[in-house]
Amino acid sequence: MPDNKKTVMVVEDEPLSMRLTIDLLEMNGFNVLSCTDGCGALDMLSQNIPDLILLDINLPRMNGFEVYRKISEDSRLEKVKVVALSASVMREDEERIRAAGFDDFIPKPIDTKGLIKKIKDHLSG
């Protein structure tokens, strides 16, 4: 059922993490859009509306929080789930992410099975 495939957008600047996430998503039957910084992501979002965005927090130039703010200001993207990914996992970091309003937070290194399960949970809910 190729038409029912859900689309996940990956915003990640670190090449190996990007490759891992893309391959993992494709292996699990998702369409994947990807870009390596916040500006690119916002450009891409003006043309495409994914079902879920995996957004790295530590991005160059425009960080994940700023990208998230822009996304939440865009009414076209109201239904899009946004999940933060970060290797900053101190309590303060996580609290800041939760407080910003993201749908979820996934710490790095990612647990591959856990990540897929979380994405599926968000997309079925």
């Binding site: 993490s17 891992l20 391959d23 993992l24 292996m27 290797a87 101190m90 290194p109 990612i110 591959t112």
Partner: protein, 377 residues
């Protein structure tokens, strides 16, 4: 003794006191200056009487830039606010000194403040010591801040490559990219386990440093301890079966819902069980017992028939980065931080942790207590 004689005696007292004693009028002009003040500040009284304190023993501004001229003006207006006052003064040769002053208003017949009577003691050395302590405290605080931010950065930087190591090895391990032969399966397991091991090291180091800096806080909640203990055994079930190790539980009546930090208790139990797994030879036994002791505490023990702890190693069990060497310890050694961390988690709850072992080859028992409700005596 006549009244006049008494006056002379008091004058003598003031004159010879081992404190700075002076009087000034409301403009700040000196009207009296005792001998000690002469020696201390380096002015003879005939030189200073009639002169203003600002410009002689008071510099217009102190070393930190505080406006002392304004302070003197204010003192003339509100003498009662300056009964006890510490400020910087200056000796004739320019040396800055700190004086603790007690200032008393002298009233005329109409009850108006006419002069201020000042007694001063040199506290320069005290002030210097205070400043040094303050500097040392600031240095210690900034070193501590640097350490915290170093740890946070280290944690972040190590997680990025670990993401690739753990993630890609998981994909290969699951044979999502093609079937593996036996050797490949074995090797990829090593890579994956080693990556996970590194990750737990990083997490343990962060936890320990949080405990040491007093930043570790408990997140207490109500949970069923009995079910937590039973579920923990499930995690090692598979591995135990592989090594022919029998598992057992002995959880008594009365062990149920407690109030504690569930995540940390889980981590402690899991750590004890994996230690037992590591040090118990094939065909042995591992068990958990728990019972209520008294009406405020639960005690939990994890026991095994493993290699036990020799007398000479007893002191090292709860030390950081220590591991008891053993031919039995299984493929993946622990971080060496599990035991000290576990004990600290239990102590944060107000509980105790200890172990019992009758010696080499006789197995061991690790026990801890937890209050039924954390934070309540």
């Amino acid at each position: 003794m006549s009244g006049h004689g008494l006056e002379i005696q008091y004058e003598d007292l003031v004159e010879n006191a081992n404190s700075i004693i002076l009087r000034m009028d409301m403009k700040g002009n000196v009207t009296y200056f005792n001998r000690y003040a002469e020696d201390f500040f380096g002015y003879r009284r005939e030189e200073i009487i009639g002169k203003n304190v600002v410009g002689t023993i008071v510099a217009p501004t102190d070393t930190s830039g505080r406006d002392l001229k304004a302070m003197m003006d204010d003192m003339a207006l509100h003498p009662s606010s300056y009964v006890n006052n510490e400020n910087e003064n200056v000796q004739r040769n320019g040396t800055r000194v700190w004086i603790a002053w007690t200032n008393k208003s002298i009233l005329d017949e109409d009850g108006r403040v006419r002069e201020i009577f000042c007694i001063g003691n040199n506290i320069t050395r005290l002030k210097q010591a205070e400043e040094e302590i303050l500097k040392a405290k600031e240095a210690a605080e900034s070193a501590n801040k640097a350490k915290s931010s170093f740890l946070a950065n280290m944690s972040h930087e190590l997680r990025t490559p670990l993401n690739a190591i753990i993630g890609f090895s998981e994909l290969i391990k699951e044979e999502g990219v093609g079937p593996l032969n036996e050797k490949q399966k074995e090797y990829i397991d090593y890579i994956h386990e080693s990556g996970k091991h590194l990750l737990s090291l990083i997490n343990d180091i962060l936890d320990l440093s949080k405990i040491e800096s007093g930043k570790m806080v408990l997140e207490p909640g109500d949970f069923d301890l009995k079910s937590l203990l039973e579920k923990s055994l499930v995690f090692i079930k598979e591995k135990a079966a592989k090594h022919g190790i029998a598992l057992s539980t002995g959880i008594e009546e009365g062990v149920g819902v407690i109030r504690a930090d569930e995540r940390k208790v889980k981590q402690v139990v899991f750590n004890l069980l994996s230690n037992s797994m590591k040090f118990t030879p094939d065909g042995g036994k591992i068990g958990i017992t728990a019972r209520k002791s008294g009406d405020k505490e639960i005690s939990v023990c994890v026991w095994d028939t493993g290699i036990g702890i020799e007398e000479k190693d007893r002191g090292r069990v709860f030390s950081e980065f220590e591991q008891i060497d053993s031919e039995y310890s299984r493929k993946y050694a622990g971080t060496g931080l599990g035991m000290p961390l576990s004990r600290k988690f239990i102590e944060l709850h107000g509980g105790r942790m200890w172990f019992e072992s009758e010696g080499k080859g006789k197995g061991s028992r690790f026990c801890f207590t937890l209050p039924l409700s954390v934070g309540q005596p």
